[in-house]
């Protein structure tokens, strides 16, 4: 299938996804389930990666600040800016594209090859809407919280590393964290997080939904889903940065 055909099919697929749910109560229950599956279950990996990245950013900054004219609080400042602007939105987005994306593609792909999606259709249920709409809403809702958590934990990781490696004092680091904060950068990153959440859920769902064959094809779809959603995240990052920071 060509690139253009894929885009066309993806748009038609989204048209089916964004249709009125059959039952509000069932739909709401699905959203809660998905928030737990996609969001709460990702807290662990987000915390671990953010702590270590925050720590590494603070150490690298400290070891590269060789000019005595540069103040120590720059370590805290750089850690905060890196976490807010790029790491907690884009890098966490890429990590979730791997974790959540492969999970979604294989879950929906398995449902396709074991005829569970056909079973939904036979019952008169819009399978695309029933299975995927709650995932998109759940991710768009929960990912901003993961972003905030990542920023906080990353800065804490930086603080801890600076303290343990004795690179800068806690006072300097915390001063840097509070220095020159531009609130719009948080808005900019939250917008990116929302767009990435949509990509992370809709693209793997698309690849899973149209799987045909068996377990091998489900695996291939899962790989394609992760690769393509990662590329789309990077592309969206570039476009959004140009639009929002111009």
């Amino acid at each position: 299938m060509s690139f253009i055909e894929n885009i066309g099919r993806y748009i038609l697929f989204l048209n089916r996804v964004f249709s009125k749910p059959e039952r509000g109560k069932v739909f709401f229950a699905q959203i809660i389930k998905e928030i737990y599956k996609l969001g709460v279950n990702s807290v662990g990996i987000v915390v671990i990666i953010s702590v270590f990245m925050g720590a590494v950013i603070s150490l690298q900054t400290a070891y590269n600040l060789v000019n005595p004219l540069l103040p120590d609080y720059l370590v805290g400042y750089t850690t905060r800016e890196s976490m807010i602007l790029e790491f907690s939105s884009t890098i966490v987005g890429l990590i979730l594209a791997g974790k959540v994306g492969s999970n979604i593609a294989s879950e929906i792909g398995s449902m396709r090859v074991t005829e569970q999606i056909d079973a939904l259709e036979i019952m008169g249920v819009n399978s695309a809407s029933y299975l995927i709409f709650p995932k998109i809403i759940a991710a768009v809702f929960i990912n901003p919280f993961l972003y905030v958590l990542s920023v906080f934990v990353g800065i804490m990781g930086g603080l801890l590393a600076s303290y343990m490696a004795d690179t800068v004092s806690i006072t300097d680091f915390l001063y840097g964290v509070q220095f020159g904060l531009i609130p719009y950068y948080i808005t900019y990153s939250l917008i990116k997080t929302l767009v990435f959440a949509f990509i992370i859920t809709s693209v793997p769902s698309y690849y899973g939904y149209f799987v045909s064959g068996g377990a091998l094809e489900v695996g291939k779809a899962s790989t394609k889903a992760v690769v393509n959603s990662s590329i789309l995240i990077l592309l969206a990052n570039l476009i959004l940065t140009q639009i929002l920071l111009k």
Binding site: E22, R23, K25, V26, S110, M111, T114, E115, Q116, D118, A119, E121, I122, M123, G124, V125
Partner: protein, 250 residues
Amino acid sequence: MIELKNINKSFGELDVLNDISIQFEAGKTNLIIGQSGSGKTVLLKSIIGLHEVDNGHIYYDDRDFTRMNFSEKKLIRKEMGMVFQGGALFDSLSVEENVRFPLDMFSEMSEDEKRERVLFCLDRVDIKKAHKLFPAEISGGMQKRVAIARAIALNPSYLFCDEPNSGLDPVTAIVIDKLIQEITKEYNMTTIINTHDMNSVMEIGEKILFINKGLKAWEGTSDMIFDTENKALNNFVFASNLFKKIKKEI
């Protein structure tokens, strides 16, 4: 009753179904049989609307399914129950939740009524004890029973079964066949079963459609099979030595 009139279906250059016409009656177990690749699965999927037919008509009690729009088809689908080859139970839901699913989606029942209906359906297929288990925790035969319970939850007028006893041992296969036949009579449903299992053909074949290379090659009952002169059907039904022997003795 389901009536097919001059059904044709092709995929690209490949003609899969050619001019199939037949009536499947209510209260009877109607079987579609044929070799692998003969087109029986495509026919069943066309009847239930998973494939669009190229031309011809499919009537559900005089309602032309092929002329219906999306919402009309959606309504008629609520009158259908389907048992898939592998069961197609939802992995993430327990046995009870699987049977309850169509009720949650389409019925206006209260919670108590739903619970009662689920237990009734599970009891009907004799699997009440496993209601808390998940599909992965039960055997293939039990999965088929749950699939039947789910299919009848909304009291459908039409029941479709795609090779319901494939992968089952002969004893369980007969139990499943008999269960489908009993339920068909009990609720006066129009049941269509896709199979290539000869035991099913002999046990529950009240009306049989034999498809060969996409064409309707024969139509009749299980009793008529022994007297047919149709070469393709004889080659298919009496392929095994056991059935050859049985035919000879009869």
